[in-house]
């Protein structure tokens, strides 16, 4: 296994290297320089390992924080106004007073920032002082230091279960094979073990130069190149900071990146900022407010209204134009509140609280994984209530991503594994768990009989494997079965016979395809075998469960003649490695498919015992342990869609390449017929293809297994290429892939597997609810169309009576496709009458990746979008991650709709980022999707409550609060504006400045925030029961252009009333300014609060406390203020007013008149034409039983309506897959447009197999 680069410089372009020199780094060891001054250190330019994520220092906190805060436009506006107030000619308030609001806001934000920063500082400190071992030349051993002392160029030793302090180039491990296992849970959440290897060819005396890339964020990408020997190293030689070393006593590494340059730190970028739709809307409305403000200020500057009596402080009267100019700015200061700056702060508070409620929802908590929903984007909660399109991944999102081996086809023969299916079915049925337990033969038997079983009787016993065993009376807990369910496979009888047959005739063993098939399953993967699993807290070890299966095991062998004969698939333990018991092994796979295959192989006796970088040990059914030398592993990538392992057969010494991959990827690469078989390869391929199609239709995931035997010379030449590619710095990935493609040709098909991925719980229910909520659900999957269609039926995305348009084309033909789309669109144009829609079947579109690529090209886009818009559901199959995001982007941009993408794997990341709301499912495939998502949930079903309930609530709450906020500020500020008409537009305020500031800051700030946080228009049960209610939030929802203006008009009306009724009541009297302002201000408070109480839908204790508290606060503060502040304008005003009965009379009538229109409007609307939301509220008030009854009735009525719909207009066309049991001939297509393009219309009566 040589990785040393040949010293010839031939393929290495010198110039290219020069160019890239700047992107590279040369690192040398620190050891020779130990103890020297700092400036002599060779690596002094690289940052140390101490990290500092805190932004501020103690001394500079205030200036830095202020600087940070003034980046926000809103704060600048505030400060600008405050400064303007210091200009004597324009000031409206006492300058100091005007500083209060901005100071309060800045202080609050600064306190929040300081607290956050302090937490960061503490966590940094804790991390920096974690201990680690660094090699010291003086002491000649590793000495204990802190993380912060680690520098680039140091040698660091990490022992088992310790966290890696910096990015290390692995040089030595305690493992003889030079392997180090790490767990990257801290980095990406994946808990499976990963292998890292020692840089090959580096001895203990390491003194070369490490050339590496500049630090970058790519977690799976690292290039390194010690110059002298030219040894290539990649990510597999790097221990990343934050990972935990497992299963390895110790490992020694050379520090390549430290501190902030480590990959982990570079990848760590806090929560994402997204701008929600409402916020964009809001900003437009704020602009309207600015225009309104400027208009009002311009009105104020109209010259010549009153003769100005009071000269300026310099004793002169200004010229009218100049004083108008000054007045403009004074008015801006006076009416500044019209622009609701505090709205931004309030929205932030409300969103924080909304997120608090979402994360604390017990329904969105998953017991199994102990995970709450994570809200990673903090400011798009309300977008959840406006979703119109959902794009979902299939695997792991709709399905469990817990793979179960269901069927396989070997050499063109199908093995249905019926027993397995039965066992699965029974096991998933909870009721039967306690009575009937099917155990797997090997396990049950091992404790009793394994010792005396041998080669001779196994042949017979094979026959009975997988037979059902009844264990009467032993009531086991479900727990014992929950874990093995996925891992255990009951072998197929027929297949077992085949294997044993092949094995017995050991002459043909090496060419027997059956053995090869299972060997491929066992070898061709990257599964890590871990023996001692108990130090990790993962599920119950299977060996423990054996003890539960106690003697009373009856065998109901179907063969009959052997009766209760002992049987075991297991070989005696006495073979070569007694320490390794097959049942002790645990497989850690990166993908669940791989694990399923390895477990399947295990069930047939091909037990993967161990894997090192250089070898794989497999125990054959015969009990023989074969140690294959692994020459190379061509890892999986999404371009090739396959992976291969090149091994050297220990017996035949052949170079064998085992490949497994997507069926279409493998089928293309099949080569010349496989000599010596009873059927020729072509037939096998055709048969297998048929099986594959059938599997796909059953909803199984298909994989093809192939093999290739290489000659020695072939291998030599290839491996030379391979090593050149591995050591290359430029284009390394491309070169490596090229070499992989180069060898993966002329494969021989061994067979195919069908793996079942069960639907997650409640998926059909969730999808139905989402669709009733008016959300279009699209599935974008990499699977085959047949699989996708099947899953589509299973999760009720497609209904039986749907008209399914199946678009796929084999070559790049534009014209027919576009014609087809036109004709399909014609389908709709025929029935433009919307009333007819009910009578036409729902139309669903199934489209594959290649066709999709064409339809997404610019000229066909429009038509595709048009077509898709009419479809009830769309399934895109075989799409690449990039296509996924392209689809999302196009729909989002063309239709101007809110999109949501949900996925669980790395291939969904693009889509998640492209959508308005990205949701990651933290499942089996690591955390990459979660990292990039805005919300991370653990089950698909959580989407229902998240959208229908929280989305609706967040959306309506925030929308109502924003509208209310605009109203509140306008209504309040307009009072001042109206007063300007009576004070000669001199910007006098009739309310004391302090009280005016308190009014916004204290008296009326809490109620709208509370409204935005707690108001609940409809109960969660109702929202879940009647998903249609979600539609109210879609589109522009409750926060519309019109609602904004209606509320602004209402604000104008109310402010007019609030000003002019007191004006008329006090006109001509001896009322002084501030005595006049007191009732006006009080009325304003009552109107604003009562307006809110009209809007509040549900009054809880909190509502009452805050509303009444606000009123109380107003009176207490105002009374206290006007009693204490003798030199203030407002001295004793409220007191003198409160003893005057007129005050109360004016307050009452004004409030009534101000609110009468809104109140009446609400009443009339609710009585005459109640909105769906109002009706739902009516229902909500019924007692739960009646309500549930009602919902049920309503649903059944609607459901019936759906069934009645007939599919009359389906064009007569051959149907695909009318029968499931028989293998259908290759799909007859209704060829609408040409040879290469098929457009299949699947009509009703598609019998879908029953799932679970």
């Amino acid at each position: 296994f040589i990785r040393l680069h040949q010293s010839d410089e031939g393929p290495q372009p010198e110039t290219g290297q020069k160019v890239r020199e700047k992107d590279l780094r040369n690192l040398v060891s620190n050891l020779p320089y130990e103890g020297l001054d700092k400036w002599k250190q060779p690596n002094r330019y690289f940052p140390g390992n101490s990290i500092k994520t805190s932004k501020y220092t103690l001394l500079l906190f205030i200036p830095m924080n202020l600087f940070e805060q003034f980046h926000r436009l809103a704060n600048l506006y505030f400060v600008g106004l405050a400064i303007l107030n210091f200009v004597p000619v324009v000031n409206a308030f006492q300058p100091e007073v005007a500083l209060i609001p901005i100071c309060v806001i800045l202080c609050l934000t600064a306190m929040k920032d300081a607290w956050e920063d302090f937490r960061r500082y503490q966590s940094d400190k804790r991390l920096n002082s974690m201990p680690c071992l660094i090699y010291s030349r003086k002491v000649k051993q590793f000495v204990e230091r802190y993380w912060k002392d680690v520098r680039v160029g140091d040698f660091v030793k990490v022992v088992c279960n310790e966290i890696v302090p910096a990015d290390l180039l692995l040089l030595h491990t305690s493992d003889p094979n030079g392997v180090c296992h790490i767990e990257t849970a801290n980095l990406d959440g994946e808990t499976n073990l990963k292998q890292r290897r020692v840089v090959p060819g580096v001895s203990e005396s390491f003194n070369s130069i490490v050339v590496c890339e500049k630090p970058n964020i790519n977690l799976n990408h690292f290039k390194e190149k010690p110059d002298k020997d030219k040894v290539g190293a990649g990510i597999e030689n790097l221990l990343l900071r934050g990972c935990t070393v497992r299963n390895t006593d110790h490992a020694v590494g050379f520090v390549v990146y430290a501190g902030h340059e480590t990959k982990a730190m570079l990848n760590n970028n806090g929560p994402r900022y997204k701008r929600s739709k409402q916020e964009r809307r809001l900003n437009i409305d704020v602009m309207f407010c600015v225009i309104l403000l400027l208009t009002m200020c311009l009105v104020g500057t109209l010259p010549g209204l009153p003769p100005y009596l009071v000269p300026h402080s310099n004793g002169h009267l200004d010229s009218p134009s100049l004083s108008s100019f000054y007045m403009f700015f004074t008015m801006i200061i006076l009416l500044q509140v019209l622009i609701p700056i505090s709205l931004y702060v309030s929205i932030e508070l409300v969103k924080i609280a909304q997120i608090f409620f979402i994360t604390n929802d017990i329904d969105l908590y998953d017991e199994e994984t102990d995970s709450q929903i994570q809200c990673r984007a903090l400011n798009i909660t309300e977008d959840l209530g406006q979703i119109e399109y959902i794009f979902t991944d299939k695997t792991g999102t709709l399905t469990e991503n817990k793979m179960v081996f269901r069927r396989c086809s070997i050499m063109g023969t199908e093995y249905p594994h019926k027993e397995n299916a039965i066992r699965q079915a029974v096991l998933t049925e909870p009721d039967s768990d306690e009575e009937v337990i099917f155990t797997q033969a090997p396990q049950a038997l091992q404790t009793q009989w394994s010792l005396d079983s041998d080669d001779v009787n196994r042949k017979d016993t094979m026959h009975h494997h997988g037979s059902r065993r009844k264990v009467p009376g032993t009531a086991h807990s479900d727990v014992a079965f929950s874990s093995p369910l996925e891992t255990e496979v009951t072998p197929d009888k027929k297949l077992l016979q085949q294997i044993s047959g092949a094995e017995s005739t050991s002459v043909s063993r090496k060419i027997d395809a059956y053995l090869d098939f299972f060997l491929a399953l066992a070898i061709c993967n990257t599964v890590v075998v871990s023996m001692s699993k108990r130090n990790r807290t993962i599920s119950v070890d299977s060996s423990i469960e054996e003890d539960h299966f106690n003697p009373p095991v009856k065998l109901e062998g179907s063969g009959g003649n052997t009766g209760a004969q002992t049987c075991s698939l297991h070989v005696p333990r006495s073979s070569s490695e007694p320490a390794v018991t097959p049942d002790m092994v645990c497989y850690e796979a990166e993908s669940p498919d791989e694990a399923a295959l390895v477990y399947a192989a295990k069930a047939y006796g091909f037990i993967l015992l161990g894997r090192t970088p250089d070898s794989v040990t497999v125990r054959l059914p015969s009990g023989e342990d074969l140690r294959f030398e692994v020459l190379d592993t061509l890892t999986f990538d999404s371009n090739r869609k396959r992976m291969s392992v090149l091994v050297r057969h220990p017996i035949s010494k052949e170079y064998v390449l085992y490949t497994k991959g997507a069926d279409y990827a493998i089928m293309e690469l099949l080569g010349t017929p496989y000599a010596g078989m009873f059927r020729n390869q072509k037939n096998i391929a055709a048969d297998t293809q048929q099986h594959l199609d059938y599997y796909a239709k059953e909803g199984l995931r298909t994989l093809c297994i192939a093999k290739k035997v290489l000659s020695g010379r072939e291998y030599e030449s290839w491996s030379a290429d391979r090593h050149r590619a591995l050591a290359a710095i430029e284009n390394r990935e491309q070169l490596i892939m090229d070499t992989a493609v180069q060898i993966e040709t002329n494969l021989t098909l061994l067979g195919a597997t069908g793996i079942e991925d069960r639907l997650q719980e409640n998926v059909p229910d969730t999808i139905t609810a989402l669709r009733e909520a008016g959300i279009q659900v699209w599935v974008l999957t990499g699977d085959k169309p047949e699989t996708a269609v099947n899953i589509g039926y299973a999760c009720r995305l497609l209904e039986e009576e749907d008209l399914v348009i199946n678009m796929s084309c084999k070559n790049k033909v534009r014209r027919p496709l576009s014609a087809a789309m036109t004709s399909s669109n014609g389908l709709f144009s025929l029935k433009p009458d919307p009333r007819n829609v009910d009578t036409t079947p729902d139309i669903s579109l199934v489209i594959d990746g290649r066709t999709l690529a064409m339809t997404l090209s610019s000229d066909l886009q429009e038509r595709f979008v048009e077509l898709a818009k009419h479809c009830r559901s769309v399934l895109c199959c075989r799409v690449t991650p990039l296509q996924k995001s392209a689809v999302v982007k196009i729909i989002r941009e063309k239709l101007k709709v809110m999109t949501l993408a949900v996925g669980d794997g790395a291939n969904d990341v693009n889509m998640i980022q492209a959508a308005d709301v990205g949701i990651g499912i933290s499942g089996q495939e690591g955390m990459q999707a979660v990292m990039m998502s805005d919300f991370a949930i653990s089950r698909f079903k959580h989407l229902k409550k998240l959208l229908l309930v929280h989305g609706h609530w967040c959306n309506s709450r925030l929308a109502n609060m924003i509208i209310y906020f605009f109203y509140k500020n306008t209504a309040n500020v307009n009072l001042l504006f109206w007063y300007q008409f009576f004070c000669g537009f001199t910007a006098t305020a009739m309310i004391d400045y302090w009280l005016m500031i308190f009014f916004n800051l204290f008296f009326t700030s809490a109620p709208p925030i509370m409204f935005g946080i707690l108001d609940k228009d409809i109960s969660a049960e109702m929202l879940l029961g009647v998903p249609e209610l979600y539609r109210t939030g879609q589109g522009s929802g409750e926060y519309r252009f019109s609602t904004f203006w209606v509320s602004m008009l209402d604000a104008f009306y109310q402010s007019l009333v609030c000003f002019f009724i007191p004006y008329l009541a006090y006109r001509g009297s001896d009322m002084d300014i501030f005595s006049f302002g007191t009732p006006v201000n009080t009325i304003s408070l009552f109107t604003i609060l009562l307006h809110l109480s009209i809007e509040i839908k549900a009054w809880t204790v909190v509502h009452w406390v805050i509303m009444l508290g606000s009123v109380a606060l107003y009176f207490i503060v105002t009374l206290a203020y006007s009693a204490i502040c003798v030199t203030c304008n407002a001295y004793w005003t409220l007191q003198s007013q409160m003893v005057d009965p007129m005050f109360y009379l004016v307050c009452i009538i004004t409030t009534v008149v101000a609110l009468l229109p809104r109140y009446t409007f609400h009443v009339l609307k609710n009585s005459i034409a109640p909105s769906p939301l109002e009706q739902a509220r009516h229902l909500d008030r019924m007692d739960p039983i009646t309500r549930d009854q009602w919902i049920k009735e309503w649903r059944s009525f609607r459901g019936g309506g759906q069934v009645k719909r007939s599919g009359l207009s389906v064009p007569p066309s051959p149907t695909l897959g009318t029968s499931v049991e028989a293998y259908p001939p290759s799909p007859t297509a209704s060829e609408i447009t040409g040879d290469e393009f098929t457009l299949n219309v699947i009509s009703e009566n598609y019998n879908r197999p029953v799932h679970t």
Partner: protein
């Protein structure tokens, strides 16, 4: 409460950060279940009252408002109508007006005060206490710079403010290097007409009507807000080193020669003036005519003469000056507006109540078997 919520939700956020963060602490403390508390508050299941505004539910409210407002309105209207008010404009714009010449020949410098007399007749006797106001029109006492042009601490008797008035008083802060007491535009423009009222009986003899000048200002103003520096003893000494406002004839400590403790900043006429009016047309209480004992009306019907010492110019800003006599009820001066408003609103509510009753009968029954359209 909000703060608490912020804090706890912040925790959740931080945990995320650490989860994603590289450098975490090896999953310490991961044992604790993350299961959210099943409390009514966290699960948003707090018991709530859910009012729904429909015709049926709000009907009573409308009727009740109507039934309450209409009597109140009638009461107010009647009360307002019972208030007797008499107003006489003595600005002297009209050439026939007795004060025409005084208004015409006004100059701030003249030492000779101009006196004019206005005759008027009260048709009805004023029974209870009569309040005598002076009214000014088109006088923007609420002009911003005017409103600000005062020093409240000076008026509160602060000695340092007395000698060094606030900048707000500019340009009426100092005169000839001496601080003005009281400073500012409001004080400077103090209303200084003197009004005297005479009853002319059938014999054409003028009987002066006693006008009380005490109790016209707010008690709190007189006793708390306005105070002379260093008490009320020897105001001449106290105000030494200050000068009178430019437009004033007399210094502040000689405002009321007849009564010693009505001088300085606590002069009630001055205090009343300093409460700047809310609207450009306003009245200010000038004197009170106390009701005599017995059944004799305070002001019997008949002829009266108002003697005006015409000092205050208003023609420059197109203003008007009035003298108002008014009796007073619990609702203040005469103002029929509120009564009418109550009656109107009450009627509207009653009408709406009827409309809603009809609507309720027509529509609300349907809501019981509500169905939700798609």
């Amino acid at each position: 409460m909000i703060a608490a919520m912020m804090a706890s939700s912040y925790n959740a956020k931080e945990e995320d950060g650490h989860h994603s963060g590289s450098s975490s602490h090896g999953g310490a403390g991961a044992v604790k279940s993350k299961k959210p508390d099943n409390t009514a508050f966290k699960q948003q299941r707090l018991p709530a009252w859910q009012p729904i505004l429909t015709a049926g539910t709000v009907l009573p409210a409308f009727f009740v408002i109507g039934l309450i407002f209409i009597p109140i309105g009638i009461g107010l209207y009647v009360t307002s109508n019972n208030i007797k008010e008499f107003e006489v404009d003595y600005t002297g714009v009209d050439i026939n007006s007795p004060c025409y010449s005084c208004a015409k020949n006004f100059s701030w410098n003249s030492t000779q005060s101009c006196v004019c007399s206005v005759n008027f007749t009260l048709e009805q006797p004023f029974e209870s206490n009569v309040f005598m106001y002076y009214g000014l029109s088109n006088f923007y006492q609420n002009h911003r710079r005017y409103v600000k042009s005062r020093d409240d601490s000076q008026l509160n008797g602060d000695l340092s403010a007395l000698m060094n008035p606030s900048k707000e008083c500019e340009p009426y802060r100092t005169n000839d290097g001496l601080p003005i007491a009281p400073c500012g535009a409001i004080a400077n423009s103090l209303f200084n007409d003197t009004l005297d009222l005479y009853y002319v009986d059938s014999n054409s003899t003028k009987t002066p009507i006693p006008l009380a000048k005490k109790g016209i200002a707010w008690w709190t103003d007189k006793h708390v807000k306005f105070r002379n520096p260093s008490g009320n003893t020897n105001l001449t000494v106290t105000f030494q080193g200050t000068t009178k406002p430019v437009n004033w004839r007399k210094p502040v400590y000689e405002l009321d020669p007849s009564e010693a403790d009505n001088n300085g900043f606590i002069n009630e006429d001055f205090i009343v003036w300093m409460r700047t009016a809310a609207l450009p047309t306003f009245r200010k209480l000038y004197r009170i005519i106390q009701k005599k004992s017995g059944t004799t009306p305070t002001l019997p019907s008949g002829r009266y003469i108002l003697d005006i010492t015409y000092n205050y110019p208003v023609l420059s800003f197109d203003g008007r000056k009035r003298m108002i006599l008014s009796t007073i009820s619990w609702m203040g001066g005469k103002n029929p507006f509120l009564g009418i408003a109550y009656i109107t609103v009450g009627s509207i509510c009653f009408f709406l109540g009827v409309v809603l009753l009809i609507i309720h009968h027509k529509y609300d029954t349907r809501n019981n078997s509500a169905d939700i359209p798609n």
